[in-house]
Amino acid sequence: MRHSTRIAVGPVQFRIGSDWAQPVAALNRLYVGYPRDPERPADATVRLFAARPWRRWLRPSVQIGGDFTVPDALPLPLSMGLLAAEMGMNLQVALGWRRHLLLHASAVAKDGRAVLLSGVSGSGKSTLAALLGESGWRLMGDEFTLIAPDSGDALAFPRAVSLKNEAIAEMAARVDPARFGPLLAGTPKGDIRHLVPRPDAIAAMHDPARPALILFPRFGGTAAVELMGEGEAFVRLTEASTNYVALGEAGFTALTRLVRETPVFGISYPDSATGLALVEQLFAEAIR
């Protein structure tokens, strides 16, 4: 392809190719602090291409492809090329990665112990993780958390956090503007702006962390904490996993061990401050 770059996020080495210069330039700016190893072959390839030849110039629109493609996926306008690249990277991991059990969850860690935040989009897990990442925690990732089947440890996948709508202003008030990507207004998911994790979180991206706590957050309502049984947690996490079925017995063993060894809670919180306090309190109780 005409333009390309390579990015390593956690254990995955990506190769990203594009028909246009802009998405690659945007990726290189956002991921400038990530390790680069040109000697390492890519695990996954993303292709951003024009669905029809004239779409390279005429109302240019970016089709997301690569090793794995979603049939009938709608292209994005070139102005959202960075979003297309991010979606392409997530897609390759979601459909292709087999080394670990993949959970659709944010994660943060402290002193080698991890808190996993799972739940539907809009539950606030990304925002909560991003806030924790600015207040003494190591941000492990906002999209996927990887569970190693042999050790049970959580591994980081610290892509840039994709902040949406109100969360953008909330984080902009606390973080150095240099760590933000461009504002992508009016995407199919609303306004999006990427936030690069702190340098120490990127430097520690290969360090495993023992799961200490799993939370299913829900933004809104009064503050509440509810213990979740192993069975319910298991079923909800199978739904949050993109490769649970494909891993077969290894996936089952890893997930049963995770819900047996780790306390799981559903939490509701009316505002960020309350959410952060709840996480800190439950974590302190879990590691005691």
Partner: protein, 336 residues
């Protein structure tokens, strides 16, 4: 050298894996994924000296292929239980290779479950599967009628709990195809596996593989089918020195001699299959097939657009007579 040629050379054992540069690995891995051959490659290079990240990725692929194969065989077992005594069936393609323990099954990706049921049992098989939890994927009346009137299989069914597809065939090429293999012979001469399933006899398996690759469809995924043919030939010749002669007679019976001969020559050209004299000839038309099989750029994308289109049109041309093709394209176009 292009990535797709490097992939073919690695599979054929013509190239040392240690000689690949990191950028060449990028391309080989992407192309192998696009051709559903990454698991096969990782088994083929199981003992090779590889860069550590490639070795780790290949170990993942081998483990994943083993799980997928168990799941595919479990799906066959589910079909056996659903069909019980009502319809005999023969496993086809990937699941059959796995059930029979053939060498091409190692690391092979298996998609849907494909079974062959004699025409007179097809109604019963359909009912049993619907009662057993399978449901129609395409509830569109035109597509449904199209499958029933013209195709060699029922419209695809998917299991509502396990989310796995089954293709129930009554023969191996569309009913309207210019070639009409003998489905009764396929079923009558099927052989049992150690696990108690039935699979096509060796010559029929090779005929089906060649027909599926060259007479049905536009050669998409052809490198994988050709690898199957290469491995099948190797396995069957090792067990029976007279295999090629028997294959020739069987292919003639099914009207598939041209396809089988071409598959053998292409397997020789790309993967180094050893052919007996009499098979070892050359056909100028083969070069178009080789070009089509190798139409991948180094990013795993499809290349050679015009040639692909030509093979796409050819697949429809083979599938149905011209007047019918015109009607079909008209109906499809109107519903766009």
């Amino acid at each position: 050298m292009s990535a797709v040629c490097a992939l073919v050379d690695l599979l054929a054992g013509r190239r040392d894996a240690a000689s690949l540069s990191p950028r060449e690995w990028d391309g080989v891995i992407s192309v192998a994924r696009a051709e559903a051959l990454l698991g096969t490659l990782s088994v083929r290079l199981g003992d090779a000296a590889l860069p550590a990240p490639v070795a780790a990725l290949f170990a993942d692929q081998r483990a994943a292929a083993e799980v997928a194969q168990h799941q595919a065989l479990w799906e066959a077992e589910m079909a056996r239980r659903a069909l019980a005594d009502d319809a005999e069936f023969v496993l086809l393609k990937g699941t059959a290779y796995a059930a029979a323990g053939l060498s091409c099954a190692r690391g092979r990706q298996i998609g849907d479950l494909d079974i062959l049921v004699p025409w007179h049992d097809i109604g019963r098989a359909e009912n049993e599967l619907l009662e057993g939890g399978w449901e129609w994927v395409k509830p569109d009346p035109y597509d449904d009628a199209y499958y029933r009137d013209h195709m060699h299989e029922l419209p695809p069914l998917i299991h509502k709990a396990r989310d796995r597809m089954i293709d129930v065939h009554h023969t191996i090429l569309p009913r309207t195809h210019r070639k009409t293999p003998d489905p009764l012979a396929l079923v009558a001469d099927a052989v049992p596996t150690a696990s108690g399933f039935a699979v096509l006899c060796p010559t029929d398996m090779a005929c089906h593989c060649a027909a599926h690759m060259l007479a049905d469809g536009d050669l998409q995924g052809g490198l994988r089918n050709l690898w199957d043919f290469h491995c099948l030939a190797g396995d069957f010749v090792a067990a029976d020195a007279g295999f090629w002669g028997r294959l020739d007679a069987r292919a003639a019976k099914h009207g598939l001699r041209v396809e089988v001969r071409r598959a053998a020559r292409l397997a020789r050209d790309l993967y180094g299959t050893v052919l007996p004299s009499g098979w070892d000839g050359h056909d100028p038309g083969d070069r178009w097939y080789r070009r089509r099989l190798l139409a991948r750029d180094d990013w795993g994308g499809a290349s050679d657009f015009l040639l692909q289109q030509a093979f796409y049109i050819r697949s429809h041309w083979l599938r149905m007579p011209p007047a019918m093709l015109a009607r079909h394209l008209w109906a499809k176009w109107r519903r766009r």
